[in-house]
Amino acid sequence: MAEKILLVDDDPTILRLLEHALGREGLSTATAETGAEALEAIASQPPDVVVLDLVLPDASGRDLLAQFQDICPHVPVVVLTASDTVDDIVECMRLGASDYLQKPFDQTRVVTSVRNALRQGELRASVESLSGKLRSREGFAAIIGSSPPIRHTVDFLSRASTSDVVVLLQGESGTGKEVAARAIHTESGRRDGPFIAVNCGAIPEGLIESELFGHERGSFTGATAARTGSFEQANGGTIFLDEVGELRMDLQVRLLRVLQERVVRPIGGSEARSIDVRVIAASNRNLQQEAARGTFREDLYYRLAVFPITLPPLRDRGSDVLLLADAFAIRCASEAGKDIAGFSPEARHVLEQYHWPGNVRELQNIVERAAILEDGPRISVSSLPESVVRGAGLEPRRAAGSPDSYGVGDTVAAAIESMTADDIVPMDEEERRIIRRALELTNWDAQEASRRLRIGRATIYRKIERYGLRTAK
């Protein structure tokens, strides 16, 4: 379709001339002799470029220019002016004109100017579409992976995002249920509203009711101030109820009522407040089985499982393991201020062979740890936990001097040998221990310690602060 140019000038002879000059170039034109006509034309069909005379009988061209910026900010405006004062021209450009033409003008110059403006319009449109794509990196693009199971899942998530349907995300622990819930929210019409995540299993039993539905001041001992519940906080947006299977039976009833009636009643409050919230629930338990067994309310299960989506375990996602590992490694390395370019071939083999019972979360933790430990340019097997290396069917100990050598004495190896799963400590504890040891060995020279740990100086100071290591000195 030919590009459409809207010509606005109160002088019909100028309009005729512009129509002629642009028409010869294969551009289609529409004309308006007043500001009102111009606004009408723009509202009915936005043109690709506007050529606007600054002096109109019913409106100042400057005001119109500002109005155009409001109605269709992406449409470039070429200003026509008989004025030759620099101030006027500067003012127009400031108001967003993409170019100006001084009357009298020559036809070649008109065509060039309009062509440039068209190009500018195309650029603006592509910037718009690119920033749309950037925004979507937070949405489904945040879900890394190209394996058929994950693409299939993303397809379902994408369908779920187009409506307000209640979604039940199921899948093993660590498969990324919260990432999926956030992606649905970000891609949905509610993206500008809040996203409130509540982990029903992590909140103490006595507090969960108030957490979800809120309470009035003085409604129970300790309720010294009123509290807005998560449902109300999520108004206009999305609430994500993680580990919904952990909810007490009586709260399951309350949740069911909220879903049915779309109103919440805070504890101690008599007034029902209506809410507009999209609900996404998640559980790593099989709620259908629990409902059949009577440990989860069947009616609630059917309310939640309107659109069930099961996230695949990492072991079923083939080469996604390596894609994810690389993505985590790049992120961790840059956070730690290190120059790490991926994994050694042997390490990649381990990652591919391991069965990942803790799924994406386990992979992420392992890569974070490895990025801290690694001294070389690539993460080697020696930086991966022994349990993972063994789990991949490899013998972790190697001849000294080999690139993936553990470099640990037999005593340590033997100590590890005798460990059980109970000896596994949380990641941050392990990290605290590593940093503390490095500080002790360098006589608390943080700069030297960070150099030897190959992490950034800012990073070590942040960690010292975070782990309260300063006082340990």
């Binding site: 002088d11 002879t13 005729r16 001339l17 002629h20 009357k103 009298p104």
Partner: protein, 114 residues
């Protein structure tokens, strides 16, 4: 004779547009004359108190765009003189010059068409 060569360059259609423009402009200049005589020695204004200036302004902007730079020039002088509060005598002289330059452009355009 640059107007004629312009007509050649842009083809017959443009020559037609030029003729239309000259007709319109001749009518506009007549309007200027009418406003002057209507004002009877006072500053001519016309509709909305601004018609006289607006016509001069339009002709100044369009003349050169159609390839008649001398029309733009005289219309520009007229607009400036008007804004500077020139005497009606001075305005009448400039309108007469404008009339002449439009007439001679018409003459040349007709010659070019033959």
């Amino acid at each position: 004779m640059d107007k004629v060569s312009l007509a050649d360059e842009f083809g017959d259609e443009f020559a037609e547009l030029q003729k239309e423009f000259l007709d319109t402009t001749r009518a506009r200049v007549h309007e200027l004359v009418r406003l002057l005589s209507e004002a009877a020695g006072k500053t001519p204004v016309g509709k909305d108190g601004d018609e006289f200036r607006r016509i001069a302004h339009s002709v100044r902007g369009s003349g050169g765009s159609y390839g008649f730079s001398d029309i733009s020039e005289v219309a520009g002088d007229l607009e400036k003189a008007y804004l500077a509060g020139a005497t009606t005598k001075r305005l009448a002289d400039l309108v007469e010059s404008l009339e002449n330059v439009v007439a001679s452009s018409i003459e040349q355009a007709l010659l070019g068409a033959e």
